[in-house]
């Protein structure tokens, strides 16, 4: 069989394969450089940025390991839009694949400002982080509400021609309706899931283990819950879906794709294996070959219920 075609398209962003790095996992990409060929991946989603730099949550601690997962409360520490454009984006683009910027703000206009500044850059798409559980204002406060999510999406839509991808929180009753609201407001794709709200308690000290009190659960632990939500959303919208949550290996990625995701993003797994994304690309290719499937897009949503 000829080599299978791994290409997928998210809005106007053509990807050589469906594997991305999830936002916030590897910062702006510079620190991981050299530990894997990130240019080989479909897209790199950079750490969420805000208009102004943010210091994030207080430390001690910001992360804690849990069974098959981790809880983080970084709190959107980021260099801010200007430093991002000046210092970070050029290096990220040098990886040689699609770079997706992730943005957040306290108000719809805060999001739109970031999007406007990114419109003239070479980022391939913009992810709209309305799902960060670790900030008091903005973030998940938008994502838990379909209307607020749509409002942010519409504001960003008006600010840029780039493909825009609202990123949803799983901490809602009806994620499909949030996705539909975003789709109606002009989203080119939907990505999910961000982390599950979580808390870990230091039993000896009778305090939260994270200084911020609460955080977000990621990693293999959440995979079945994330696949469920991706399937729900893929059934509900026409635009492509980017699936994530606990992907560790190609089998995991294929679960999301078969459930309806056109692309997937790898997060926590990168901390164990900086080459997890590359490993997964290889595994998907092997699967397609073994099953005689010509293109990965034939697999998207191919689940038989």
């Amino acid at each position: 069989m000829t080599k299978p075609d791994l290409g997928v398209t998210i809005g106007s962003m053509a990807m050589k394969n469906p594997v991305m790095i999830a936002s916030g996992i590897f910062g702006y990409g510079d620190e991981f450089a050299g530990l894997a060929d990130y240019g080989e991946l479909g897209a790199l989603v950079l750490k969420t940025i805000t208009r102004e730099p943010r210091q994030g949550n207080p430390p001690a601690h910001r992360t804690v390991e849990t069974p098959a997962g981790m809880v983080n409360a970084i709190g959107l520490e980021n260099v801010g839009l200007d430093a991002f454009l000046r210092d970070k984006l050029p290096a990220a683009l040098a990886h040689g694949t699609n770079v997706v910027a992730s943005i957040a703000g306290d108000t719809p206009e805060g999001f739109a400002e970031c999007a406007r500044s990114l419109d003239g850059t070479d980022v391939a798409a913009i992810e709209i982080n309305i799902s960060c559980p670790n900030v008091k204002k903005g973030g998940m406060a938008f994502g838990v509400d379909a209307e607020a999510s749509a409002e942010v999406t519409a504001a960003v839509r008006a600010a840029t021609k780039k493909p825009i991808i609202p990123k949803l929180t799983p901490n809602v009753t009806d994620i499909a309706s949030v996705a539909q609201a975003c789709e109606r407001a002009g989203a080119d794709a939907i990505s999910l899931t961000n982390t599950f709200s979580a808390m870990v308690i230091d039993v000896e000290g009778r305090r939260p283990l994270l200084a911020a009190g609460t955080g977000g659960l990621s990693g293999p632990a959440i995979r079945p819950a994330a696949v469920y939500r991706v399937h729900q959303v893929a059934q509900a919208v026409e635009v492509p879906v980017v699936g994530m949550g606990g992907i560790w290996n190609a089998n995991d990625a294929l679960e999301f794709i078969i459930a309806g995701a056109s692309a997937v993003a790898v997060g926590t797994a990168l901390y164990a294996d900086p080459a997890a994304g590359n490993r997964i690309v290889a595994g998907i290719r092997e699967y397609l070959q073994r099953h005689g499937i010509r293109q990965v897009s034939d697999l998207v949503g191919s689940i038989q219920l």
């Binding site: 530990l35 730099p53 207080p58 430390p59 910001r62 069974p67 293999p220 290996n249």
Partner: protein, 299 residues
Amino acid sequence: MSEPHTSPPPGTQAPSGSGPLRLQAEVLESERVAANHRRLLLRAPQIVTTAQPGQFLHIWCHPPEEIDRPPSAALLRRPYSISRLRPPDGVEILLRVRGNGGRLLAAKAAGESLDIIGPLGHGFRISPGLSLAVIVAGGIGLAPVSFLVERLGGLGVRVILLAGAETDEKIPFRVERPQAGGATLPEMEALGAEVTFVSESVEGVRITEVVQARLDELPGEGAAMFAVGPRAMLKRLAEIARGGLPLQVSLEERMACGLGACRSCVVPARSADGASYKTVCRDGPVFDASEIDWERLTP
């Protein structure tokens, strides 16, 4: 000496610019060195040629070939200091067995391999004029000390090691208590250090008290202090040393990436531009005491 070390001052032994490597290191030896403590000798020639004292390795605790399978316990890598180099190709780590990660590493036998990333972070800076190094180490903080002592010795620097622990069992070295004089660590003496060891349970004093008592003996010129140990000890030292000896401290914090990307392992920093957190994994683990905002540093 107290400049931020993102651009190391000239003459300083800076980590090579080549960036961290990921490699499979064979376990050459695994040995119990004390209750609950093990020494692992790894084959990692690439680390030997670039590592600086104070840098660490970020270690996947499961078999390298199981990287494709998500583990429950020890999902993240674990940071361990480079304890000593054994040229041409050996790298030692000393580990205190705490939880799942340490347990898995302690169970590794010679012949097995570890998936490591390193050398990581910024190590101790040794300024050219240094003539006396006072190393203060508490408990498992002794892990990176051999490497530092050897390096200092090689540069002709006199080394005083003041080490302490709650009990003798809480360090990865053998304690000796000769008839005359105080307790000592023969392995550290063999490396050329002048050693004082105190155990709270035997000598009944803390190492910080020893440091305080001996501060006056020390020359003002050409001396510097290097400290590794629990935060409470480091905090106390920062007070003691304030305005006196230049002090470098090695800090620990929970990590995910180990590379400076995820912003997990931050500590509150003092800096002109108001950016208030630095990463232990990349800006540290060794910081100049003046870089740290000691008030805000939680114990």
